[in-house]
């Protein structure tokens, strides 16, 4: 599949062929629980939702392991020290400035965003910011090799 082919496909069309939801974790999940979920689902990204299906924030595997394995870091800032001592939960370390896609965008625009922000699982939101699904980078790569 070439770049032109990706440009012709919209995010909505992609979701019809590859319906997928991102990994969702609870706002009060501990680092152990999130890491375990990420490993079980073989994912590098997890998201937190509110009660109205709106995405609150993104958690990357790197961010979670950074907190989980902080005792192996020989240098800590004051911020990292407080975080280490107080055992943070998901909503405290999530990134509320997560990147996302809209259903009417083309795949071309989305791939660029995904690569730039190093996100494997990109959430797709409707106009009211409700979660519609997600785009997995692995499937995009697999499709591009066909």
């Amino acid at each position: 599949m070439t770049e032109q082919d990706f440009a012709k496909i919209s995010v909505a069309q992609w979701l019809e062929n590859y319906p997928e939801l991102p990994l969702i974790v609870a706002a009060n999940a501990t680092m152990d629980e999130i890491a375990s979920d990420l490993l079980t689902h073989d994912s590098r990204d997890a998201y937190i939702l509110d009660g109205n299906n709106k995405v609150l924030g993104h958690l990357s595997f790197a961010n979670v392991t950074n907190h989980l394995l902080s005792e192996h870091r020989p240098i800590h800032t004051h911020r990292q020290l407080f975080s280490r001592v107080t055992d943070p939960v998901a909503e405290e370390i999530m990134d509320p400035h997560f990147t996302y896609a809209r259903s009417d965008e083309s795949l071309c625009e989305v791939i660029h965003r995904q690569l730039e922000r190093d996100v494997d699982t990109l959430v797709v939101l409707d106009d009211e910011d409700n979660l519609l699904g997600s785009i997995n980078l692995r499937e995009l790569v697999a499709e591009s090799l066909k």
Partner: protein, 399 residues
């Protein structure tokens, strides 16, 4: 000769020389397993007035003041934003009590012992005693974390120690800024009035700037803008605090705390880029402190170095012992935590350097800086040894 003199008084050249000397000596120190902080200080010392600085006629008085102010503001901002209200709540009774105990224990012990000793100094002795006392509150988390990491330590003492060394710096910087406000007042009634204005003014200014920083940060997607945004907010708040005669240090702490609190989740983004500057700030602090070393001033205060070191250790030990009993801390914490809070380094040096910017403290600022520099170098040797002893005795060292 005139050309050489002009070059040697170029602030950029002098700063470059200090930084390069510090970095080169720290590389050498790391090869010899010596503390890098001592290397930075020695690099500065080489360029002090008594050594090469005198030969080349270095003049650092003018430009180093602005640099120290900005560097200290960066540290105060990161410290202010290092903890959230929720984290403070979760720290627990033991960490909170022990921090208050060891910080105030050191402040009281050093203040009282220096005052009772009645050293011969220019200016009022009580001011010198209070300044040294307040400077005694801070510790050196980097040295403590390095020992904990080296010994793979884990347990109640380790956790409490990590919490205490982080929190006492927050408390130490706040106490220092409050103390400065009070001791630089003209008379008691005016000092009380000015203190109230300075403290409230700083909190309002820092709080408002922090709110604005968090607000605009939410609008920015491009991460490369974060560092310039934060530095701009720090510089602007420092400028405004000078203009409105409120405490620059307290303003920077309030700025960091407000930005983190308003931003809530993801507020770490406002601090990560600036934290990369911490090492640079500490090189500046130590090389500048070393460059301000003066043998005659040091010899005048060598007895005060001994008093400061002993009183601070005793104050921290006694403070922790009392606080640990009051908070029903585990036995290992009560018995050994005091040994872990002995190191002292960068923040104390930065705070002491900032005194040089205060004309009203001119008589004692250089003496305080020389005392803190000398004691820091001694703590750099004693501190990690004491921490290691505590972790081993508590049975929390794994290696």
């Amino acid at each position: 000769m005139a050309i050489t003199q002009n070059y040697m008084n170029s602030p950029l050249l002098l700063l470059g020389i200090l930084l390069v000397s510090g970095l080169l000596l720290s590389l050498l120190a790391s090869r010899l397993n010596l503390p890098r902080i001592a290397a930075y200080a020695i690099a500065g010392l080489i360029w002090s007035e008594d050594l090469l600085g005198g030969v080349f006629n270095f003049d650092m008085t003018q430009w180093s003041q602005s640099l120290t102010t900005v560097a200290l503001a960066i540290i105060a901002y990161t410290i202010g934003g290092s903890v959230t209200i929720e984290q403070l709540r979760r720290l627990g009774k033991v960490i909170t009590f022990c921090t208050i105990g060891e910080s105030f224990g050191a402040v009281i012990a050093v203040t009282v012992m220096v005052y009772l000793y009645q050293p011969v100094v220019e200016g009022p002795i009580w001011v010198l005693a209070i300044i040294l006392g307040v400077l005694a509150a801070t510790t050196a988390p980097a040295a403590t974390v390095a020992v904990i990491h080296q010994y793979r330590a884990k347990g109640p003492l380790t956790t409490t120690l990590l919490g205490v060394v982080a929190l006492d710096d927050v408390l130490g910087v706040i106490l220092f800024s409050l103390m400065l406000v009070v001791v630089t007042g003209v008379d008691l009634s005016q000092a009380v009035m000015n203190s109230g204005f300075e403290i409230i003014g700083s909190i309002i200014l820092g709080g408002l700037m922090g709110w604005l920083l968090a607000f605009f940060e939410r609008k920015v997607r491009n991460q490369t803008f974060l560092l310039p945004m934060v530095l701009s907010a720090i510089l602007l708040s420092q400028g405004l605090s000078e203009l409105w005669h409120v405490s620059p240090l307290l303003t920077a702490i309030s700025l960091g705390f407000s930005a983190r609190t308003v931003h809530q989740a993801g507020g770490e983004r406002l601090f990560e880029p600036v934290e990369y500057l911490e090492e640079l700030v500490f090189i500046i602090f130590f090389t500048l402190a070393g460059a301000h070393f003066k043998l005659s001033v040091f010899l005048q205060g060598v007895d005060l170095v001994v008093i400061y070191i002993l009183a601070r250790v005793i104050g921290k030990m006694v403070g922790i012992f009392i606080a640990a009993r009051l908070s029903s801390a585990p036995d290992t914490v009560r018995q050994y935590l005091g040994f872990g809070v002995i190191p002292q380094a960068g923040i104390a040096i930065g705070l002491a350097l900032s005194l040089l910017n205060r004309p009203e403290l001119h008589d004692i600022a250089l003496l305080v800086l020389n005392i803190i520099l000398a004691s820091t170098l001694i703590y750099e040797i004693l501190g990690p040894m004491a921490t290691r002893y505590a972790l081993i005795k508590a049975g929390e060292a794994r290696q």
